[in-house]
Assembly symmetry: C2
Homo-oligomer: 397 residues x 2
Amino acid sequence: MKDFSYFKNLFSIPEGMIYLNGNSLGPPLKTTGNVLNDFIENEWGQELIKGWNTKGWFSQAKTIGDQISGIVGAHQDTIIVGDTLSNQVFQALTCALKLNSKRKFILTDNGNFPADIYIAQGLLKLFDGKHQIKVVEPEEVLNSINEEIAVVMLTEVDYRTGRLHDMKQITQKAHEFEALTIWDLAHSAGALPVNLNDAKADFAVGCTYKYLNGGPGSPAFIYISPKHIEKVEPALFGWHGHKSPFNFDLNYVPSNTIDKMRVGTPSIIAFSSLKNALGIWDEIDLQELRKKTIILSELFISEIEKLTSDLVLASPRDPNLRGSQVSYKFDFGYELMQSLIAHKLIGDFRAPNLMRFGICPLFIDEEDILQSVKIINKVLDEKLWKNYKNISRAAVT
Amino acid sequence: MKDFSYFKNLFSIPEGMIYLNGNSLGPPLKTTGNVLNDFIENEWGQELIKGWNTKGWFSQAKTIGDQISGIVGAHQDTIIVGDTLSNQVFQALTCALKLNSKRKFILTDNGNFPADIYIAQGLLKLFDGKHQIKVVEPEEVLNSINEEIAVVMLTEVDYRTGRLHDMKQITQKAHEFEALTIWDLAHSAGALPVNLNDAKADFAVGCTYKYLNGGPGSPAFIYISPKHIEKVEPALFGWHGHKSPFNFDLNYVPSNTIDKMRVGTPSIIAFSSLKNALGIWDEIDLQELRKKTIILSELFISEIEKLTSDLVLASPRDPNLRGSQVSYKFDFGYELMQSLIAHKLIGDFRAPNLMRFGICPLFIDEEDILQSVKIINKVLDEKLWKNYKNISRAAVT
């Protein structure tokens, strides 16, 4: 694998900014603007309707899915890209509940991203009271798996603390009790090695706007284990998932392949940005990326430890139990983060008191980490965050 | 309203091409490439995560919806943009069936785009056999409305022939029988004057990649009548539709406003193209557009009538019963269309024998129509289409 400085040079980040927020929104590649301009001028503008065939637009939901499969340890022909992550959770959950329809509970934890739980709450209203959601502490998940559980639906890496679930162990336990698993990889895909195939995951979903740098709101993806693809039936009978979409029959006959998870016509402009961003992953060794993430995170944590005890580590101290972000509790975390942002150190804040710093070695190096610590030191030492105490707290996704 | 030549000059269409396929995919504005480049460099690239607030990304699902409301005769705060048209059909249909849950039938016609009917077929499987779909001929819709109908779900303009339903009359009849209506405006929005408010439509959905020129797969929209917004409950409890999305509560509490129809994080790159494309509609008088569409369509039909009886008009002969496209039946329509495309006259083909020509006055003028007829004449007269008889038929969306 090439040196990390090679990758850092591929990204466009404003001069002087240290961007510790790739866990929320990845930065653009330097090539993205030109790629989109070229798409408008030479694909959409020249080919117009013909582009669906001549430029392969129609198959991109799968060809881009195949680009992602290498990043998450999946076989080819098991991933479809499109729609939002919430839509994909809805699709995965319906498929799983239909497969395991006699079981009552969806098991999840309170470290799951709330959006996933909302989707389950909405879906259960359609199923007319047949199912219930059981929300436990992350540490209780394993012991809560039993013969009443239809589906274990979890986010592998906690969006707040970076706490990492053991996908393989939980999936194995689920299978012992004939429960299915849905893994949300929002904070995993591109952040650490994921091996869906080895873990025997049944379903997975993920987003492409964080560690995969597809752009704000870049389309989500859904993975289905090859052993389930033929059997599953999604909630949305999408015409792009029809066996013969261009026959325009009035009856839905699903494709036999992963294509059955396609719904309507996806944004090809959004796909163009994503396809380009995924192009760098052939050159990335995820084991090397993980090593570097841990080196940088450990450096950050140990330097902060030297500096102050005012910031309380909210992430697991053991790097093997952490994803690719480091979070701290601080009562005035919102104000402190505003002050850091004013000093061009970009992290983010989650109520009530959590400051999140994403450590992405593709565009963050040791120097950035040390400089970040210096900025944090200055802002704490000079109590500059107090200047933000009367500013109202605005939300950021 | 400015002259149509002003608008024609805003679009980027390849030199020498006559593009009669805006009913399938609209062409880009000349400004679109730069707008996207600017988005990448100055919004995503400079603002990164902050763009959700500083550049208004988070509210675009509604602010772009408000841009569309003027085009379809809707009040402000009644339209949300995002997801695909199929997803929006799913959302509208669930809302309607929940509102009118004691009724059995979804009434539609066989001129509806099959994708919409597929979505209904999938949704009914979740509702466990409580509902059924009734598909009738377009001419039978009015007489089929009775006290068993929960929802009348129709596409206003037939994707094959351009046949236009009377939205106001059908909606009135539906309401007399306490049925709700869902109107798919895929071939209406930007093609002809639509007045959802005057027609008292309950729900509407539409796409933005045809007459609204947002780009291939540009996001769809959903309209809900103000009288239903507070009561409806969508299938997808989307976190962007939560009353307080950034509180990250584990329980879903929907917004009281049209925002409740928002689902996950939408592609802001796709929004940027769409927002720009919608910018020209403030200057367009839809009544003038309609007049011009009819003048051009009548010219096209009458010139073809003079030319040949081999092409059989499949669209209504009365312009008041037609949307903005003209279709012809011809046994070798696929081959003929291939030959026309080789002569840079772009229409499209729908099996088994339908040739479609979209007449969009924003970028098509009298000269284009006369030139099109000349090309058709040449290809028929010299039987050039026979050269394509052994080419396999490829599908185009």
